[in-house]
Amino acid sequence: MRSADDCRIAVFVDRCGGTLSHLIDEEMIQYVSRLPQVVSCDQDENLSSPEGFEMLVSRLTKGKADRAVIVGASPKAYEESFRHLGVATGLNPYMFLVANVREQVAWIIQDDKRAREKAKAIIAKKVKEASLLSPIGREKIGVPKEALVIGGGIVGIRAALALADANIGVTLLTRAGDIGGKAIQLTHFYDRPDDVSSWFMKQIERAKKHPKIDVKTSVELKGFEGYLGDYRVTIRGPLGKREVVKGSAVLLTSGYDVVSNTEGIFGHRCFISPSQMEAMLGDGGKSLMDEKGKPIKTVTFVLDLVNETIKIDSANAVKNALLLKKDHDRMVYVVCRDIKVSLDGMERQYRKAREMGVIFIKYDDPPRFSLVNGGVNVQVKEVSTRVMGQEYTVSILSDLVVMSEKFVPSKDNEMLATILDVPLPQEGYLMDDNPQFTQVRANRRGIFLAGGCRYPQTLDEALVEAEAAASGVTQLLSQGVYEYDLAVAEIDPAKCAACLTCPRVCPHSAIVVEQYAERNIYITAGYEGDFTWRAARVLPTQCYGCGICVSSCPTKAISLKHLTDAEISLQMEG
């Protein structure tokens, strides 16, 4: 057990290439050298240079110090070097502290003399704090090259292929009877002439035939547990049999749902959905006629009554309007609030559509619909007709009206969020929209998500996310082992009352409660029972070291190895 007397601190002063020269003088060096427990004080012009590093290593291996304080710039400039220093000197990388006297003293205090006084105060505190440091170990776990993909739509398929091609074994799970999902309804791409069906079929075939992909259809998720390197999903197959599938990492690609409005007038056969329009255009226009065999002449696309801030319907409307005009010479109207052209090449397509005679009508007030002569009268107040306080209503007599179906979160999201313990914000899509997670990363280490389960996106955008998420998985699995520092939270089971506060507050789902402890301090005196107690345990691979559990624990059973309460209290001293 280390005591204050055992510490031997080596101080290194970084002149930061001259930027700190006005702060560091002989008096400063003397002051630092005379601080309690300081055994050496060296300076260097540039500690981060190879020469500076050499000097550090030399001093620490030959000298008697068991910990070091660096006086210089922001700690962030040195922390990566500590790992290498640790290897070179045998000193644990966590036995270093940095006194930030450049960014947070020299650069904010104009008066040199007062800056020096402040620097001395900070250095003295850091030296004192150094006596509280303790070494922190490093561990590793094996991460077999296996991953789980939950969701068998095109996004899941693409992710599975990206992983499998990189030599990672993939188990692809889907609730449906086959893989393919919703995007299979597309009959044309908006930005390239390739045939969609054959492109899709190729992806599906490749996934089914890939030696590293195991497709499991008609499965239900029954349970989920584990951590990076050892995630275990319990599934129930179509015949009721339960099975546990394993993976080092998990990719969620469970998609979204659509809800149509077929109430009242919208149930009439003249109102169709965008996917029905796709299908009609997919068969070469043969179905572009009504049930009496008369050809459909006027098609109106109505946008933005739902899905106002999603680009999918808009892109498909422009694409199909062009096809209706170009290949089938129909009258086409697009009624919308705003024309969404924020996709590569879409502005040109929109202009082309206009040039070819597609009429775009913008509204502020939602259009009204009525049935007239077997067709639909769409009445819109066109915004550009507002002149001198007057407004004109345009009536479009349509044979067919294409109404958007509202995109909604998948009804499975609640179940998925509960089973996988990922956040489910109010809008109902998975995972918080927090920029720090760069779209594809979930809050739990080893879990990623992509595509519509996060938010309804166009096919192109979703496919890029699929590969990005696959990249996240590939990184974690690339070395075959995952190495991590034990700079994480640690729970003392003897003090844990299993109140379940910490698993609930941990944002990374890194705490489990298990039967593994022998005794705790709450057992009444004289009790001679024989069984193991439940206590909370931090999964070190999953912990990000934020310390939220540490400050939430009512009995102070949790500590953060690299920043204890004692270290914080010391920094507060006046």
């Binding site: 922001s74 947070q104 402040k118 929209d433 934020c546 939220i548 400050s551 914080i568």
Partner: protein, 135 residues
């Protein structure tokens, strides 16, 4: 009173506040030397106890720099500390400490100017308020 230089303890979350403090330095903005910066991995690490301890140990004011809401790398750290501050405000009221002596400021890594502005404003406010009664 004329030469009273309020001591401010600033808890800075490693992911936002601390980097913003560095950026304030890079922008060359002048800050009071009675500012003490304490680095924590996440604002959620800050306990109600720490806030009260800081005031007990001679701080005239405590500033907590946490990430903007919906931008915390630990998702809820900034909300946790905000909730705990509510509890501490209750205690402060009971013991007669002015509410202005504890404040939360949301910053991002690139909010160096905002960090400096928050510190300077608190410094002026505390000068008017006077030294902490618990010192």
């Amino acid at each position: 009173m004329a030469s009273f230089s309020p001591r401010i303890v600033a808890f800075c979350c490693d992911k936002s506040g601390y980097v913003a403090a560095d950026m304030a330095g890079k922008l060359g903005i002048s800050l009071p030397e009675s500012l003490d910066i304490i680095r924590v991995p996440c604002a959620g690490r800050i306990d109600a106890l720490h806030m009260l301890q800081a005031l007990e140990n001679g701080a005239d004011g405590v500033l907590i720099f946490a990430c903007h809401e919906e931008n915390c790398q630990s998702l809820t750290g900034n909300l946790m500390v905000k909730a705990r501050m509510g509890y501490v405000y209750g205690i402060m009221e009971k013991i007669g400490l002015e509410r202005e002596r504890l404040e939360l400021c949301n910053v991002a890594t690139n909010n160096g100017a905002k960090f400096a502005e928050a510190v300077q404003k608190k410094f002026e406010d505390l000068k008017r308020l006077g030294p902490s009664p618990v010192k």
